[in-house]
Amino acid sequence: MTLDLTQCLLQTAQEPRDLADYQSGVPRWCSGCGDNAILTAVQRLCRDEQLAPEKTVFVSGIGCSSRLPHYMHTYGFHGLHGRALPLAEGVKMSRPDLHVFVSTGDGDCLSIGAAHWIHALRYNMDLTVLLHDNRIYGLTKKQVSPTSPLGTKSNTTPKGSYLQPLNPLTVTLGVQNVSFVAQAVDWIPDLLSEIIAAAYRHKGLSFVRIVQRCPEFQPGAFDPWVLDPKRTLILRNGLAMSPALAKIYTNQRDHDASDIHKAREIASAEDPIPVGILYQDGSVPCYEDLRHAGVRRTPEQVRHGLEAEFDKFTIWPDGVPAGDAP
C-alpha cells in the first residue's frame, strides 16, 4: 500500500530479476526427484511476477518437500512437523504485505498436520499452499503416507498397506470457506507453472495438490501416467497451454471452476488424473482482512498494553500504591 508516486519510483529504480536471482544452493533431493520441477515452477513465478525477495516468504514443515525454502533466495521458515500452515498464518497475520507460500508434503499436511490443514482452509488467509504429494515418506526412507495406494509395500507395511488412501482434493472441497483448489502434476512443468501462478493470483488460501514422482522409493509408480498423455485430463478454464503441449495432451474437457459439485465429482476421479483449477471462489473473505491484520503499534502502545495486562497480576510491594508504581 503505497502512493502511486512511490510505486513509480520503486519500479524505475528496480533492476529486472531473472530466475537465478531466486536460486539458492544446490538442491539435496535425490536425482530425478519431482520436487525439482516444483522448485523451478515457483522460481519461474517469482521471476514472472518480479516478487521482491525480501517481501516473499516460503514456509514449510518437515519432509522432502519442506526443504524447498532452503533453495529459494527469499525469506524462509523451515518449521516443525505438520506446523507449516499455522506458522504461515502467523507470518501473514503480522505481515499481510508479504507474499507467503507454503510447501508441505503428504505426511506433513495430511497426517500430523491434518487439523491445521482443515482449519487453514476455513480461515482462508491469503496463502499459496503447495502440497507435494508423492504418496510416500521419502525423507525417512519409505514408509506409507495417508495417500499411499492400498497395498503399498513399505518399511512399516512389508505386507502392503491396509487402508484406502485419503483424497486430499475431496477433503479440501468439503471444508467450509474453501476458495481455491487445483491439481497439477510435476511432469507437465508448463501447466504446473500456470496453475501455481493462478494460485498465487487468487486472493485467499489457494490449495494446489501436486502429484509428484518419487524415483527413489516409488520408482516407476507414475510411469503409466507419465508415458501415456491420454491418462491426464486437462481442465480447460483459462489456463494457457502451448500448442505443442496441447498436441500431446489431447484429453481435455471444459470445466466451470465456480461449480463446486462438478469440482467434487472431478476430484473423486483418480484415473485419468485431472489437472487444472477445480474450484475457485474469490468472494470468500480472508481472516486477516476480517481481523484487520497488520496494524502497526508504536512502542508506547505496546508498552501500555503490556503494562495493563501485567498490572492485573502484579502483587504490589507494601506501601506502593497501584497508581504510583513505575
Partner: protein, 699 residues
C-alpha cells in the same frame, strides 16, 4: 366563455369572480393533505457510523428491517408490527410538530408517549424492538435545511473514508520511521550509556544491575554503524512533516467547509504547496521504509518536487472542499461558482434554490437562472453534476455519494420546495416541481464509460414522456364518478404560488364544457387556433375541484420548461460516439479471453514451435524442452552437452560435446523420457550396436 378566452389571450380578468380562490393545490395532490399519516421517504436517518453502508436511510426502511429481524412471521408477530408502526407514525407526528434530534431520542420520546397510552404490552413490545435497534443518526424531515444537512453528511461520510485510509497510512509510516530512528539510537554510543541502558530495565529491578559496567562492555557497537547523517536528517524531516500535517488531523486540522466558492478555491490553492510537501514526505517515508531510497537517483528528483509532481490519483486521496451556497443569485456569485467549478479543483458545491420563479417584469413568468446552473455545469466538462428536488434527494443518494467521492469538482443543485410565502409542505412543492419538469432530477458523471451512461434521468416520473400523465378521479355536481387523464405541466405546478395567481382564472360556477382541453394537451398540439381553452385542475382548501383557465404567458413559460427537459432527454439518449463504440467491437472479438473461458489453444500446425520442427529430423538428438522437469539428471551427466534455458528446462547445448553413449545414458536416466538420442554421429563408436538397441525406446 368569451371572457375566459379573452383572459387566455390577454391575461386580463374582466370580472372579479374570475379570480381564483386562495390556497390552491394541484388536483393530483388531493389525497396528500396529511403527510404525517403517510408512510413515505421522510424522515430520513443520517446514519452515524460508516460501516461501508448507505450514509442515509429512511425511517420506514430502518423500521422494516427491525421488524423482519424481530417480529415473527404471521399472526404471532402482528401485534409487535402494529405497535412499532404506531411508533413510526408517532415519530413522524413529533417531527411535524418541530421536534428534532437523533433517532434514539425521538424514539424514546415517542415510546414514552405510546407506552403511557398503550400500557404494559405496548411498552414491552417497543422495548424489545428498541433493544434490536442498531442504526443511529440525526433524523431529518423534508424542509428547507434538508439539502444542506444531507449533502454535508454525504460529504462527511466520503471524507471520513478518505481520511481513515490516509491516516492509517501516515500513522503506519510514522511508526515505521520512528522505529528506524529508535533502532539507530540504540545502536549508537548515546544508546549505550549507563543512563540509556538503565531506562531499558524496569525500576523494580534496576538495582540488580551495574549499568556502568554494562555500558563499558557494550561500548563498541557490533557490526556496521547506523544511519548516515544524510539519511537520518531525511527521515527526521519526513517524520516531522508527517506529524505536523493538517490535512488528516483530528485536532488543529484544516477546515474544509466554506460558504463561498472563491474562498474555497483560494484555500485549496494556498494549501497546495503544503499538500505537495506532504506527498513528498509520504513518498520519501515509503521509500525509506522499504530501504529503497537511492540518493544518487532520488535526491535530485525530490529537490525539484512541487505541486506539479503530484499525480492525479494521489491528489484524489486528499480531502475535498465542501461549499454550501445559500444561493447564487447575484451575478458575481454565479461567476465565482462557474470559475471555481471549471478550475478542476476538488470542490463539492451545493447550491440551494428556494424559489424557481425568476424576478422578471411583472406579468411575465420565467424560471430563475438557478434552475439552469446544473445544466450549465454539464457544459464545463469534468464536473460531476447532481440536480434534484429536496423530496427526491434520498432517492439520489447513490449519485450523491459518487459525486462526493469522485476526485474532481461536483455541483449539487437542489430545489428546497420552500419558496417565500407559506405554501403547501415543502415535500409536496418539491415533488410538484419535479413532476412538472420545472426542476427535473438528473446525475451527470463525466467519468462514466460511454456517453449514454454519463447522464442519467433515473427517478423522474415517466421519463420517456414530455410530461407525466395521471388519472384524476372526481365526483361532479351530480355526484357522478368522473375520471380524466391529464398531463402534469408547469402550469399545474405554478398554481400553488400566489405570485402567479394573476395568470389563472376560474370558471364561474362549477361547470365547464367541452370547449376546454388540458394545458398539457394544448401545449402538445403546439397551436392555439383550434379554439379550445387550456385549463388545469386544482383543489381548494375544502378539497373541491376547481378548473382554472391559464393565460398564454404562463403557457409560454411552461413550454420553455418542457423544452429544457427535452434537451436533457436528448443528452441522456445520446448514442455512444464512434470512438467509444470501437473498443466494444474489439471486445466482442476477444470476448472468449476476456470472459476467462478457454484459452487453451487448439493444435495449430502453422503455429507449431521450433522444437516440433526439430522433431521432424529423426537423425538429430533433441529434448522436448517444455516437458523437462528440471531434475538435473542430464546436466549432471554432461554439462557440456546439456544445459538449461532461462526457464531452467534442459536442451541440447552441443550434441558433439559427448559420445552417443552419453546421449543414450541421458535418455535412459531421464525420468520423464523426453530425451531422444537420434542417430550416432560417429559410426565407429565402441559398442554402437548395443547402444542403438538401447536407444530404440527413445526414438
Amino acid at each position: 366563455m368569451k371572457e375566459l378566452r379573452f383572459f387566455h389571450l390577454t391575461g386580463t380578468r374582466s370580472r372579479s369572480e374570475l379570480a381564483p380562490p386562495e390556497h390552491l393545490r394541484p388536483a393530483l395532490f388531493a389525497r396528500y393533505h396529511d403527510l404525517a399519516a403517510l408512510r413515505y421517504d421522510f424522515p430520513i436517518v443520517l446514519v452515524d457510523a460508516d460501516g461501508g453502508g448507505a450514509f442515509a436511510r429512511t425511517l420506514s426502511d430502518v423500521i422494516d428491517e427491525l421488524l423482519r429481524e424481530v417480529a415473527p412471521q404471521g399472526m404471532t408477530g402482528e401485534r409487535l408490527r402494529r405497535s412499532v408502526l404506531r411508533l413510526e407514525r408517532e415519530i413522524r407526528r413529533l417531527m411535524a410538530k418541530g421536534e428534532a434530534g437523533p433517532l434514539s431520542s425521538l424514539w424514546a420520546r415517542a415510546e414514552a408517549d405510546l407506552a403511557a397510552r398503550g400500557g404494559a404490552p405496548m411498552a414491552a413490545d417497543l422495548a424489545q424492538v428498541r433493544a434490536a435497534l442498531r442504526v443511529e443518526g440525526e433524523l431529518v424531515d423534508c424542509d428547507v435545511s434538508l439539502a444542506s444537512r444531507l449533502v454535508s453528511h454525504a460529504w462527511r461520510t466520503a471524507e471520513a473514508r478518505r481520511a481513515t485510509e490516509m491516516r492509517g497510512r501516515i500513522d503506519a509510516l510514522v511508526a515505521r520511521l520512528a522505529d528506524l530512528l529508535r533502532a539507530d539510537h540504540l545502536r549508537s554510543h548515546g544508546g549505550r550509556t549507563a543512563g540509556a541502558l538503565a531506562e531499558g530495565i524496569g525500576a523494580a529491578h534496576r538495582d540488580l544491575f551495574d549499568f556502568d559496567m554494562m555500558a563499558l562492555l557494550l561500548a563498541k557497537p557490533s557490526g556496521a554503524s547506523g544511519l548516515s547523517d544524510m539519511r537520518r536528517a531525511r527521515i527526521e524531516r519526513a517524520l516531522a512533516m508527517l506529524r505536523a500535517q493538517r490535512f488528516f488531523a483530528d485536532e488543529a486540522g484544516y477546515d474544509f467547509t466554506f460558504e463561498r466558492a472563491d474562498l474555497a478555491l483560494a484555500a485549496y490553492r494556498a494549501r497546495l504547496p503544503e499538500l505537495a510537501a506532504l506527498v513528498k514526505a509520504i513518498t520519501v517515508a515509503e521509500l525509506e521504509a522499504a530501504g529503497e531510497y537511492l540518493e544518487g537517483l532520488h535526491d535530485d528528483y525530490f529537490k525539484g518536487f512541487n505541486e506539479g509532481s503530484v499525480t492525479p490519483d494521489d491528489l484524489a486521496r486528499f480531502p475535498s472542499y465542501l461549499v454550501r451556497l445559500d444561493h447564487a443569485r447575484d451575478a458575481a456569485g454565479r461567476t465565482q461558482l462557474l470559475e471555481a467549478l471549471s478550475s478542476g479543483a476538488p470542490l463539492k458545491i451545493l447550491v440551494e434554490t428556494d424559489d424557481l420563479l425568476g424576478r422578471s417584469s411583472p406579468g411575465d413568468v420565467s424560471l430563475s437562472l438557478d434552475t439552469h446552473l446544473a445544466t450549465t455545469a454539464i457544459g464545463l466538462g469534468d464536473v460531476f453534476v447532481v440536480q434534484s428536488v429536496s423530496s427526491h434527494l434520498y432517492r439520489m443518494r447513490e449519485p450523491l455519494a459518487a459525486a462526493m467521492s469522485c476526485p474532481g469538482p461536483a455541483l449539487v443543485s437542489v430545489f428546497s420546495g420552500a419558496p417565500p410565502g407559506d405554501l403547501a409542505p415543502p415535500y409536496l412543492v418539491a415533488a410538484a416541481a419535479m413532476e412538472s419538469r420545472a426542476f427535473p432530477a438528473f446525475a451527470y458523471d463525466p467519468a462514466a464509460e460511454d456517453g449514454a451512461a454519463r447522464l442519467s434521468l433515473d427517478g423522474n416520473p415517466q421519463p420517456t414522456r414530455t410530461w407525466p400523465e395521471h388519472e384524476i378521479v372526481y365526483a361532479d355536481a351530480e355526484l357522478q364518478h368522473r375520471s380524466e387523464r391529464t398531463a402534469f405541466t408547469f402550469a399545474d405546478f405554478a398554481l400553488m404560488d400566489p405570485r402567479v395567481a394573476s395568470h389563472y382564472a376560474r370558471f364561474p360556477g362549477s361547470e365547464w364544457n367541452g370547449e376546454t382541453t388540458s394545458a398539457g394537451a394544448w401545449l402538445t398540439k403546439r397551436a392555439d387556433g383550434h379554439g379550445q381553452l387550456p385549463i388545469v385542475y386544482a383543489i381548494d382548501g375544502t378539497q373541491r375541484l376547481v378548473a382554472l383557465a391559464v393565460d398564454e404567458k404562463l403557457l409560454r413559460a411552461a413550454r420553455r420548461s418542457s423544452e429544457a427537459w427535452l434537451r436533457l432527454q436528448e443528452l441522456a439518449r445520446r448514442a455512444p460516439t464512434e470512438d467509444a463504440a470501437a473498443p466494444d467491437a474489439g471486445g466482442v472479438a476477444s470476448s472468449p479471453a476476456a470472459a476467462g473461458s478457454v484459452t487453451l489453444a487448439a493444435p495449430d500446425p502453422a503455429a507449431a514451435p521450433p522444437e516440433a520442427a526439430v522433431a521432424a529430423a529423426p537423425d538429430e538428438p533433441y529434448i522436448e524442452t517444455p516437458r523437462c522437469t528440471s531434475c538435473d539428471e542430464c546436466v549432471l551427466l554432461s554439462s557440456a552437452m546439456f544445459s538449461y534455458n532461462e526457464n531452467k528446462q534442459a536442451y541440447i547445448k552441443d550434441a558433439s560435446a559427448g559420445s552417443y553413449r552419453t546421449l543414450v545414458e541421458a535418455a535412459e536416466g531421464c525420468q520423464v523420457a523426453i530425451i531422444h538420442p537420434g542417430r550416432p554421429r560417429d559410426p565407429k563408436e565402441d559398442g554402437l550396436e548395443e547402444l542403438l538397441k538401447r536407444a530404440e525406446p527413445f526414438a
